[in-house]
């Protein structure tokens, strides 16, 4: 019976303390919303936009950590006249049309080869792999003490003729591996 009392007391304490707390979300959810937001802060070169109503494609290469959350995030949303679409790719060769690419594990553990194959294509590359920006990726999600920071490497973005808004660069840590 002692057991039951302890359990009941615990449940009561918890219920009382935790009525309505907020300000926390799952890491994958927040990253999904970041991916969606990036579209507002990046300009693609005209040749990357087949027409003004072509979908803006967020691609996921490799394992998908978002479940259906990314789909839910972009459902019904537009950038200008362009609706959003989410596509999943197993291999780099499968990537046809894509504007923002999240590189998931396990491929992201060794991003160099993937990035080499995407080089100069107008695709915003994003990953949470270690030192992604330093290794030639464009945006790296760094999870630090339960918060997500952004590291941005503008060089590959410049090379791919993507323009990243200064508003985004201001809140991010800018990485310049070549030291320019």
């Amino acid at each position: 019976m002692a057991l039951l009392r302890v359990t009941a007391a615990l449940l009561l304490v918890c219920a009382a303390r935790l009525g309505a707390q907020g300000a926390r979300a799952s890491e994958a959810q927040v990253k999904a919303v970041f991916l969606f937001n990036f579209a507002q802060f990046v300009d693609w070169p005209p040749e990357a936009v087949p027409d003004s109503q072509a979908p803006l494609v967020i691609g996921i290469l490799g394992d998908d950590p978002f479940g259906d959350f990314l789909d839910a995030t972009v459902r019904g949303e537009h950038r200008g006249a362009r609706p959003f679409a989410v596509r999943r790719f197993q291999r780099v060769e499968d990537i046809t049309r894509c504007d923002i690419l999240f590189i998931g594990r396990p491929l992201a553990d060794r991003p160099e080869e993937i990035l080499a194959r995407l080089k100069n294509r107008p695709i915003l590359t994003v990953s949470d792999a270690d030192q992604f920006a330093e290794r030639g990726g464009m945006i790296h999600f760094v999870t630090d003490r339960s918060r997500i920071r952004l590291q941005i490497n503008p060089e590959p973005a410049d090379a791919a003729h993507l323009t990243i808004s200064s508003k985004l660069l201001r809140v991010a840590e800018v990485i310049t591996p070549s030291g320019r």
């Binding site: 057991l3 304490v13 300000a23 979300a25 959810q29 394992d63 839910a72 995030t73």
Partner: protein, 646 residues
């Protein structure tokens, strides 16, 4: 009885909780993704960056794991539960049967067949098999991985023999420690109490150049003795010192190299006049992983492990293990993911026999050659996947053996997955099955097992996994048939002795394992697990063993576990872990319920103070062992701990 009743109430509460979550759409929708998506989309980039996020525990990547009854114990789970040893941390996986036998011994198994020499579970620490060829089991007292260094523990119940190898008959425990980059800086921990007498760890990690990081650690602890049935203190108090290192080298772009090792030395008391048990040993391991291309990778590992154990009056053992493994994963076409590997192991085992028992011959060297191949086929990419594979092994006892399995994974929706598997697994002979004689000199009462061959299992599994928003749920059901289980046979019936070890028993097991993880609010998380399990063993025609498996399996029919983790204001955290274990009938161990609790306070990010109570409900209780004066009881314990990071 009261405990079991309370456990039943608690069980029904939790079952009600998750049943409700399915039947009432409102309840399940409340934390629905689209709702939170809208809320999150209203936030600015700065606000998103200020948001506290919770990471989902790492999920296994291979289908062979996802299509299996896997539970993952994370570093956070271990820390929050206040576990003080690896064995104790394993209580957090409800698909394991974990019983503390005395101050240092544990009986740990999955899907039954538990004993202090349980032999159907494979345990790996960073890929190194911690297994004694003496009885195909684990000496848990020398597997003292520093808990703060563990990244996660993957616990797979059910056969994993195809990928992991022999012994993975009923389960695999895969302990994965953190890489050096996650253990940088200085960590000091220390504490003590009445059962955990005193413990301390020093760990330092730093960078040696831009691509090499290294860490070293040292630790020591003393633990109080368990109690005798009358409550008097027994004499198995003990202490252990351990130190180790790890170096990670991120060489070039496609190569990763890890070098790691440990050394330990400990003493465990025995009842006088016997002298203390001495244990010591160490290991050193090198690993190399190489990315050949985006779809192809190679991994190799090499280790040497040495253990010494001297139990005065019983036996002594010196064991050297040399092991090398190679694994290659590659994609073939659009639909096939192929993994294959080769392995070789050499053991050199020297036993010092006593008057009580003898392993004959005392000194053996044995070799294992293994190979495996598995193909994961995307029948419908991202929806329906099939994995077919087999292990091929050659050992000195029985020659070639094959252990095939087929697994299918069907993703019903983004949140729900159904899986099924059929596997054949073998428990190959160990020294105890073939070479154990008692007493140490003729005439023998027990005269080895010259004809003992592998025990065979055929397992059928069906499971369901669901993850949506804050709720994760996994249900695994299984039925297994066993052939040729170990038995004790009269060598010349009707003469009662000598006896020899044979394969005279068959058996079956079936049951269900349910595990749930529910984030009730952002600050309150509940994990619950419930396992129902039956093991039946019977003699084959011609066998003279009438024990019906009484020496092979000591397993409760059901167990329940509940862990509540609450983040309180003022940087306080409060955790309670409840477990209720049914009786072990063939050992007359009564059912019991026990409670652990931990209160911790983190006044600043670098400092963590905690108070932990273990087995709080009873002054002492029995978890395992045949009734009698030698059975040990586990006492209530309280300890305080401090952790400081620089």
């Amino acid at each position: 009885m009261a405990d079991m009743r309370a456990a039943a109430v608690a069980t029904s509460m939790v079952l009600a909780l998750w049943l409700v979550s399915f039947t009432q759409p409102g309840f399940a929708q409340q934390p629905d993704s689209s709702l939170s998506a809208d809320a999150l989309k209203k936030l600015s980039i700065e606000q998103l960056m200020n948001l506290q996020v919770t990471s989902v525990s790492k999920r296994p990547e291979r289908l062979s794991q996802t299509a299996s009854a896997i539970q993952v114990i994370t570093q956070e789970d271990i820390r929050r539960a206040g576990a003080s040893s690896l064995a104790e941390a394993l209580r957090l996986a409800s698909n394991l049967q974990v019983a503390q036998v005395d101050a240092r011994q544990w009986a740990i198994s999955a899907r039954g067949f538990n004993s202090t020499t349980a032999n159907k579970l494979l345990v790996l620490i960073d890929g190194r098999t911690v297994y004694t060829p003496l009885f195909s089991g684990v000496f848990w007292d020398v597997q003292e991985v520093p808990l703060a260094d563990i990244d996660r523990i993957e616990v797979i119940s059910g056969p994993g023999a195809t990928l992991w190898g022999s012994n993975a008959v009923n389960g695999v425990i895969n302990v994965i420690t953190k890489g050096v980059k996650d253990t940088q800086g200085l960590l000091l921990t220390g504490g003590g109490g009445n059962e955990q007498r005193g413990f301390g760890t020093v760990r330092y990690g730093g960078a040696l150049g831009s691509t090499v990081r290294a860490k070293i650690y040292g630790r020591g602890f003393g633990r109080d003795a368990s109690a005798l049935p009358g409550g008097a203190e027994s004499s198995d108090d003990w202490h252990l010192w351990q130190g180790g290192f790890r170096m990670d080298w991120d060489a070039a772009t496609a190569n990763k190299v890890t070098l790691q090792g440990d050394l330990y030395d400990g003493r465990i008391g025995q009842a006088s006049p016997a002298a203390d048990i001495a244990v010591s040993g160490g290991n050193v391991m090198a690993k190399w992983s190489h990315t050949i291309s985006e779809t192809s990778s190679l991994a190799a590992q090499l280790y040497y492990d040495r253990t010494h154990r001297n139990i005065p009056g019983t036996f002594g053992e010196d064991l050297d293990t040399y092991d090398v493994d190679l694994q290659h994963a590659t994609r073939l076409g659009a639909r096939h993911d192929l993994v294959w590997g080769l392995g070789y192991r050499l053991i050199n085992d020297r036993v010092a026999n006593s008057a009580a028992l003898a392993f004959l011959p005392a000194h053996v060297a044995r070799q294992w050659f293994t190979g495996f191949v598995q193909d994961e086929i995307a029948l419908v990419p991202n929806r329906l996947h099939l994995a077919l594979g087999t292990k091929i092994e050659h050992n000195d006892y029985v020659g070639f053996e094959i252990q095939p399995s087929g697994r299918v994974n069907w993703r019903l929706s983004p949140s729900g997955t159904l899986w099924a598997a059929i596997s054949r697994a073998l428990r190959s002979p160990s020294r105890i099955d073939r070479e154990l004689f008692a007493p140490g000199q003729p005439p023998y009462f027990l005269a080895g097992g010259p004809g003992f061959h592998s025990e065979e299992e055929l397992a059928y599994e069906l499971g369901f996994r669901h993850q949506r928003g804050p709720l994760a749920l996994s249900l695994a059901t299984f039925y297994s048939r066993y052939h040729g289980l170990r038995s004790l046979e009269q060598a010349n019936p009707p003469a009662a002795t000598p006896m020899v070890i044979g394969n005279g028993q068959d058996g079956e097991s079936y049951g269900a394992e349910l595990a749930t993880d529910y984030r009730v609010t952002d600050r309150w998380r509940l994990r619950a697990g419930y396992t129902e399990l039956r093991v039946h063993i019977w003699p084959n025609p011609g066998s003279t063993d009438q024990s019906r498996g009484a020496s092979e399996s000591h397993t409760p029919d059901r167990q329940f576990f509940l862990q509540s983790s609450v983040d309180l204001p003022a940087d306080l955290r409060f955790d309670v872990g409840l477990r209720a274990i049914d009786d072990i009938t063939n050992q007359q161990v009564p059912g019991y319920g026990e409670l652990n609790a931990k209160l911790s306070w983190q006044p600043m990010p670098a400092l963590d103070l905690s108070l932990v109570g273990q087995n709080l409900l009873h002054r002492r209780h029995v978890e395992f062992g045949a009734p009698g004066a030698a059975r040990r009881e586990i006492e209530r314990g309280v300890y305080g701990a401090v952790a400081w990071r620089f």
